[in-house]
Symmetry: C2
């Protein structure tokens, strides 16, 4: 609330200033309340209080509750997409320690895109309101998890062509990478928790280790033959 208002105040020039700050404050409060209570559980009054704004101001900016909701979703989606693409841009192009580099990338991905506040909002709201507002979340469906797999797939393709990985279906590998990175975090995020840095690190490490055992081009460890069979 504070940071964004400050930021807004710095950016703008004239009348927009106060207005813009209010808008941002409302959007942020609304995101929190919608996320906490769902669409029908959220009340305009509650949002107004949390945004430190009068109810009427909300109605001035956003004609009705539904308009506010769609504005919030679009706002969060924009931010989430920006974070996503900026994180994808940090994908290792080449590497002399692919396991470490992929792990670090996995941590960035979960930390900045999947497990942050926006990620939580989208997960909850897509799940609970997705069927009621298909038009709204269609963009996310396409540009969110849809695009992320193919974008990540393209990055895996690059690494593969350079011999760091070996795979047939790059998009499938991307989906599996995402799934593996989430494997250890599901339980935490499902209940609204935020994983610690240690948990993110460990989840990514486990994921990448398995991922590379399936897709590594160069056998990292010679697959030590049968360590503890029998009993």
């Amino acid at each position: 609330m504070k940071n964004r208002n400050e930021a807004a105040r710095k950016l703008t020039g004239h009348t927009q200033r106060g207005q813009c700050a209010k808008r941002l404050s409302i959007l942020e409060a609304a995101a929190n309340v919608f996320c906490r209570e769902g669409f029908s559980g959220a009340s305009i009054d509650e949002i107004a209080v949390e945004a430190c704004v009068s109810r009427q101001t909300i109605y001035n900016h956003y004609r009705e509750k539904e308009t506010l909701f769609t504005a919030v979703v679009e706002d969060v989606m924009d931010r989430a997409n920006a974070a996503l693409y900026s994180t994808l841009a940090t994908f290792p192009d080449k590497s002399d320690n692919i396991e470490n580099d992929l792990t670090a990338f996995g941590v960035r991905l979960t930390k900045n895109c999947l497990c942050n506040q926006d990620g939580k909002f989208l997960r909850k709201l897509v799940q609970s309101e997705g069927e009621r507002y298909p038009h709204l979340f269609e963009a996310w469906r396409q540009h969110g998890p849809g695009k992320i797999s193919s974008a990540l797939g393209a990055l895996f393709a690059r690494l593969s062509h350079k011999g760091f990985l070996r795979m047939d279906d790059f998009d499938l590998a991307a989906r599996q990478f995402l799934a593996l990175v989430n494997a250890d975090l599901q339980m935490i995020t499902l209940f609204g928790g935020t994983p610690t840095d240690e948990q993110l690190e460990s989840a990514a490490r486990n994921a990448v280790h398995t991922f590379l055992r399936a897709y590594s081009g160069t056998e990292l460890k010679p697959q030590a033959p049968a360590l503890a069979v029998v009993t």
Copy 2:
């Protein structure tokens, strides 16, 4: 006067049938409506209509909306747990084609536990109401995804000791198996859709293929050395 029902319920033995049918009808309708609308979006009237029952009957059986909700959640959780354990019991004990057997198991798991109506209900409701009713979903947290990994882990341990798989951390492998099996289904289930049998089959096949590349005890394919390196 208000204890009438309680008293009646205790000394009956015969009239149960009609009553029981109503209860089931209410539970089912309530599950659908709660799943569709969330807790605060669902109205008792809507549930009554969908259950073909008068509103008053609902209040007779379940004192208030919240009581009904918890009853529904417990009911669905019971069913889901039963389905889960009965599916886990079909885990292959030994196999001459582990890829096929694990794939078939993955299909059963997704079809009967993860992607069915109960699975959808729990996914949505845990996500949207989990933070508000921690006491309620704690049981699920423990007996649901918590236990499923360790139960599945134990089964993987059995297969490992017999030499069909090779892994250090059985629970981790179980979590990853689940994550991989879901990798291709997330997009569908997230929007409330139900995957077709073909999609389930393909998702499981993809998952098991990768899982075995990471965890197979016997190299299934000799990992054809470096097919297309460079560029």
